[in-house]
Symmetry: C3
Subunit: 674 residues, 3 copies
């Protein structure tokens, strides 16, 4: 079951035995002696794939148009001789010093007019003609030389598109923005209408008068800013396509680029997934999160969902602490393996790290690695070796597919729009809402597919909508049909507000879902910070809520609970509409994962779902191949749990009718489907 | 009684029956069908005045010098046909795209050198010659065309001068600043003396070496910054005058512009009030304020005071929540009416909103309106209709004047100076002090006129000085004479510090008021944050205080209380001087509204004032015409209160010897003065 | 005993009788009448030295190359006639308006590209050729004219080098940075190696491609930023040398400039101290510090240490509150004297203030002064007079030297490196660690010399290393030899991490000190904020700790305590290694001054030191001349303490076998050493 109808049906994957295991490898930082040490240790750890070259433009194209492939020839040969395959990167995420010096006008310009220079991780303007030309040249040159190299099994274009900067106000960006808008709108009148330029006197008569939304006296036109988000994403995709096409002229190997799923909101992965042969993701635990395994699950489910359910590659994660968060928390013993195998459970057929060997210099020397500064006499190295063996043992999982229970909407464009300025309060947080609802499902043992509101959702008994501020009329119709045909829909507050141009729907807030839900919204009633919006149920019991209330206008829904405090006291808080043969629930306030349990009892009943009574902290996901089912159980807790699944644990070769999943460990049980 | 001697005696007011009721109307955002809907609903709601055109420059002057008045003709005709008058705006607060494209050098430049572009609410440099020329042209063109239009009853120049930017560091601003300084000082020596340029080596020998106080290595010369405030205000006033004079060539209708009283500190309304025919104000509740009705009262009293006591127009407020504060709190049922009528109580003869119909697009679509997104089947619309009827019923109030009891000083120039960097602590807050003292008076039932220290204050029994950091010697003499002649003066700490150039008075802090108060200040003793400055009275009782202490030098005053804690322990805290036949009180620490009650018992006794024992949350203000007195009572609380005033309630037509003011409601009692 | 081997042996000091007493004097701000008043009051207060001229460039060089010395001649004569000597300043910290106007390209440019203009305390680019030429001209002109003036006893170059801006990204700075790098590295390959440019694709092929680390898309190369710190310091030193050499052409008087010891981290005072004839310091209490006397002691010890133990001059401190901190706390009665005499106790032979007379205008009018705005009828003036007498009485201390007990490392370069971005956590704070360890020693009655890790430390029984992130291999060898030869070394966490280029040491964190300590670090384990890292000792007792833990790899050290909580639970927390005849202690977590008492009991035992049981808040320091020992005791507490030292109190002329040091007072006991 997959919701991402737009994604290509995928069979591409790099030619490797079993699952991929390895990481980013930056031989340019090390001596030839270290290279030999590296390949020996890679073999010890079971590494079968490394990503190479992402930051070596200046060492390959040493002057504009002048190439030196010697060191790359050498390391590829050495790796190949040792049976290690290569995911060969294009180095376009960081153009060399000579590029910045020759084409200073290609630099990214901030909204305040500061030009961002060389000496960092140095992206330039994705709209700069000189950059487009240069990336085609370097990508093509690499592909031409290494298309037939026996070590190379995949192309890795660029690195983390959109990081560290995704928006650019340089002159080139302004020119391209105007072209993009002309393409999008056809006429200046259409643009004026879409952007609502009548407000605050922003009417345009000439395309040339339009600029990127750089610094202005107060907030800029929100529709313009939303389009600038779309444009910025589009320009990055054009860069990707430029490189991909340059490579495809010489090579048929699969092409990927590393996404950042839920960790970078600047690019619309639903569109990007259509462009790659294999979907890949980078994921880093959020140190401040007391339950980072839930954030990890969201990332993995989202990656799999944009991939249309196909196996994907975890191209980067960390063996332990990272350097760029305020507090870089080290992973506890066993945590790295739990993280890695949780990604596998949710569809990854590759477990890769940033990076193989910790860098002695540069900005990320305090980022953990497979081979730490402390060397092989270290906890991390011993766990890396053990994980290599585990990954090898999981080869039977390859190409099997994850079985999801529930769909949840995740719409980058809506998030971009919601995050603009001057909403009713300044701390509406879609990620927080997604997390609260997702964690409810995670704790109840359900696996989630993410989807767009335009997707065919008919196969899911339940669709959860935590934050869909922007909802096109036709997408609202899609959701309405879903309910009409028997589906159960749960919608959270501040959804269904605007159309694709950030214009409030005629008829008012939530009006496009009035039929599906039996309510719409008369007025938003944000709460004074620090106050409560208690929810009182018909039976007199209550649930905690805060931050937000709405004044609902009920047109047929059953009012299940009302507000017990706040400006909305006595007004409806939670409603259940009936439409066709399905039900539309609406939650008009902010409820925590705990409090949502009171809502979801009824939701599950409507959807015909039964929560799984797993032990606390036990994560269980199912992958299926034609012949087998695989149950991966990860125990994040400090107590042992029982798992009532019969079969063979691929990690220990044990066979049993049920298994104990010891505290902190993982089981991967294979069961025949026949 | 009025303190603003500088204000013109005013009789001008737009020709409308009764009080004005309506709001900003932006027909350019809507279809012709919606226009017809709008005028029908305006009539239903009792709207008799709308403000039009403030953001439509580009739709009128479609190319430089090329005008299209067709749509404006049409909507003015439609409004007139429906009996709705028009406050016609000049659209100069947001020049069109073609202006920015043609005159990019006119853009505002920040202190850091960023040029602020188009696409927002787009003010340009008020000093730019191209802008001055353009505003004269558009204002004149509008006046020429519509001077005789029967719908038009008033001119509304620009919008909220000073917002969103009031200071500009562009080349044009630098040129104009130098001209302004040359005018002000005559000689470069005089400037060096005024600015104290001997400090830190800032001596000037040439006018051309002077620039606006843009980015510097550390804090800039405070006298220069103060003059830049004055200059910036002056330039905006010159823009106003340019437009006003262009209009007056064609029209005798009253001219206004919408002030922001206590909500934007960038312009000196005492000076602005001299330039307009009618004073107008915009006011928005501060959502974070638990008692926003007190802030509203300050705004209204200040507006009336700068108007010299003449009736004024509330040109903008909101029907409910607003979008540009961190948390946009919706108004509770009845709150909009209480707000509107509190403005009327304090002198407004117009109740207008931003805006008539909620915008579907743009930056302010989450700002409430008279006609909300939810349409007419909504609480807001029903209250708007009800308020229209109430306003109509209050027609007898028209042109009556508010009776104030007490004067309080409010000096924009002093506030500008106090807010500069490197005062003894970085969180001295004049607004906080004004609020604390004002709220004391509000709770005790007194109505306040605001005044400058140069005004004739002799008619007031009590003058309160919450924050007068800058005090010219001649103004100190005025206050001293006030005391000498029997007045009661209450002065709060950090007053009387500097002269008009931000130079400390010779003789030390507070020395200009030494005669009036019988104390001056030897040294400031700010408190470590989080510590207390308890005040202990002669009888051993104590009052809370914090943040600030002073080392007073007593020269004749009676020491009423001393500090009980902090670095100033045992030093005098509250003193009462006697001078001539009056008394000068000094409060050398920060006391809350509650604690100030302990001070004001004695102050009222000296001033011969008796606090009114109104119920908690009952606001009572008196307006008087030649024939009648009007007592407006607004009950902000959730309990009913009694009002011992005999007469006729204009809102209900009830007549009685006394009235119950029910929780959350308003009474407007007319009593004959004869 | 002195650790700063690099410092010149110093005998230079201005020719004054006794200790110097006075302050900055800015006659250019005052009238001739005031001048006469000033010198009269200076005599009353015992002032014998004033600093003049630091901010008067534009009043001397009135146009480029055109000088007016008349007013300076006059004031110098007046001072000389009254027996007051002059420390004559060069005014180069604030170039005049004509300089900015003539050489706008000399302005400092921020990383974001903002050019910092005139009108403040206006430093320009220290790399600008026009500035270098101008400072040579003005310094030489002053020296030529006043070299033989009888009032002038010392040259005071510039003011507080590095404040308010120390880094500059102007074109001139870019040119100079490239020259400096070429000098430092010789070849571009060496630079690439040192900076680790292979990381993130930052390889250089041309010197001209290198720029200052201005704005970049994300964090810039840390080695480049570290070199930019070094370069920026170097450029300021070149400016100093330019002026010094211009002066030395005409004058043999001692030359100084005012340092800011521990209050400005931008300049490396170990290098600066080699350039001056007399070391001087400015010190201001940190208002937020509840025990500012400890911070003062650090400043004084550090100043004396960079001076190689020679007497130094306190050129600026304050009589009371200051204006540029968030809360300017006034000094309590007696506190100014305690501060002044604590500086003298720790080696100062001068007590000077900013400034003589409080400025009426400008940015610092709320800075306290010797003569306050309130005039001579004030607590401050009375205490200034009293202090003048005290300082005069302390003349016998002149040229005596402080006797220190313990060495502590203070390495500006290491601090620069540690403060760069993307360390394991973003709030590692070397100052906090220095303070915690220093305060432990302060409370235990020990006096501290600061030192670099390259210094000869053999004379100290104990060397404390609170924060030595950067540790060159040869310096680690120096410390190892120190232990080997019997020394006791205490090292705090996150030390010994990188080499001089910010490259992690091969062998891992702390590996250079593995021999000395018997441990190194496998992994850093920062704690989640708000959690604890309790330390449990072998005997079961525990001490508080937080913020940080490490995973130590023990190679011979004794484990004295382990972690009781956190991710490092049960791992070693505090160890004691034995190497040669000494001991190396390691503390792998953050412990407060209180908790460190549990560590230092054992440390003192190893070092053969006995803590002095002084009363709480009693600071005792010893200075020695050939003939005498001086015990200065400062009682910061509110209770009296006994001091068991026999001799004569210079301040009261009392002689006794022991003394009571009353609450808040100071004793200075002279004892013969024979």
């Amino acid at each position: 079951m997959t919701a991402n109808a737009g994604a290509l049906s995928r069979t591409a994957f790099p030619q490797i035995d079993g699952l991929a295991y390895g990481g980013d490898y930056n031989p340019e930082q090390w001596s030839r002696d270290t290279w030999r040490d590296d390949v020996r240790l890679m073999r010890e750890a079971g590494v079968n794939l490394v990503s190479i070259g992402m930051f070596s433009w200046g060492l390959i194209e040493v002057r504009e148009g002048e190439f030196d492939f010697s060191w790359l020839d050498e390391i590829l040969g050495l790796l190949h001789d040792n049976g290690i395959s290569v995911d060969l990167g294009t180095p376009t995420a960081s153009p060399p010093a000579w590029f910045f010096a020759t084409y200073p006008e290609s630099r990214v310009e901030t909204a305040e007019g500061t030009k961002l220079g060389f000496g960092s991780r140095g992206m330039v303007s994705p709209s700069a003609p000189a950059y487009r030309e240069a990336i085609a040249r370097i990508s093509g040159a690499l592909a031409e030389r290494y298309a037939e190299h026996p070590a190379v099994v995949m192309w890795h274009i660029h690195n983390e598109y959109g990081a560290p900067v995704s928006q650019d106000h340089s002159p080139a960006s302004n020119v391209a923005f105007r072209e993009w808008l002309r393409e999008r709108y056809g006429s200046i009148d259409a643009l004026n209408e879409a952007w609502g330029t009548a407000f605050w006197g922003q009417h345009y008569t000439e395309w040339d008068h339009i600029s990127t939304p750089a610094a202005t006296p107060t907030v800029a036109n929100p529709s313009q800013k939303l389009d600038f988000h779309r444009f910025s994403d589009h320009q990055l995709r054009q860069c990707f396509i430029t490189e991909r096409d340059a490579i495809k002229r010489f090579s048929d190997l699969p092409v990927t680029t590393n996404f950042m799923a839920n960790q970078h909101g600047g690019v619309n992965l639903w569109e990007w997934a259509k462009l790659v042969d294999v979907v890949s993701d980078d994921h880093y635990l959020v140190a401040a999160d007391p339950h980072p395994e839930v954030g990890l699950a969201i990332a993995a489910d989202l990656t799999r969902s944009v991939a249309g359910g196909a196996p994907w590659m975890l191209l980067e994660h960390s063996t332990s602490g990272i350097n760029w968060q305020p507090t870089g928390i080290a992973k506890r013993p066993g945590e790295m393996a739990r993280n890695s195998l949780a990604h596998v459970a949710r569809g990854a057929d590759a477990v890769m790290f940033f990076q193989w060997r910790a860098s002695r210099k540069g900005a990320e020397k305090f980022h953990s690695a497979m081979l730490p500064h402390a060397g092989t006499d270290s906890r991390i190295w011993r766990e890396v070796e053990k994980l290599g063996a585990d990954v090898r043992a999981l080869a039977p999982l390859k190409r099997s597919r994850v079985k999801a229970d529930v769909a949840m909407l995740w719409d980058y464009e809506s998030f971009w729009a919601q995050d603009l300025e001057w909403r009713p309060v300044d701390d509406l947080d879609h990620n927080e809402r997604v997390r609260a609802f997702y964690e409810r499902l995670w704790r109840d043992g359900f696996t989630v597919d993410f989807a767009l509101p335009s997707h065919d959702l008919s196969a899911y008994p339940l669709v959860v909508v935590p934050a869909q501020y922007m909802l096109r009329a036709e997408d609202a119709e899609n959701l309405t049909r879903y309910v009409e045909n028997g589906g159960t829909l749960v919608v959270s507050y501040f959804s269904g507000v605007v159309d694709e141009n950030d214009g409030v729907h005629e008829g008012g807030f939530l009006s496009p879902l009035r039929d599906a839900l039996g309510v719409d919204v008369e007025e938003y009633l944000p709460l004074r910070r620090g106050t409560s919006a208690k929810v009182v149920w018909a039976d007199g019991s209550s649930s905690d809520a805060d931050h937000w209330q709405e004044h609902l206008r009920v047109s047929g829904a059953e009012v299940l609970a009302r507000f017990g405090e706040g400006g909305g006291k006595d007004l409806p808080a939670i409603t259940r509409g009936s439409h066709g043969s399905g039900h539309g629930w609406y939650v008009a306030t902010r409820m925590s994962t705990d409090a949502l349990a009171d809502v979801f009892r009824g939701v599950y009943a409507d959807a015909g779902l039964t929560p799984r009574d797993l032990g606390e902290g036990l994560e269980v996901v199912r992958r299926e191949s034609d012949a087998d089912a695989f149950t991966i159980a990860i125990n994040h807790s400090e107590t042992d749990h029982e798992l009532a699944v019969a079969g063979e644990d691929l990690l220990t070769d044990e066979r049993a009718e049920s298994f104990t999943v010891s505290a902190g460990t993982v089981r991967a049980i294979r069961t025949s489907r026949h």
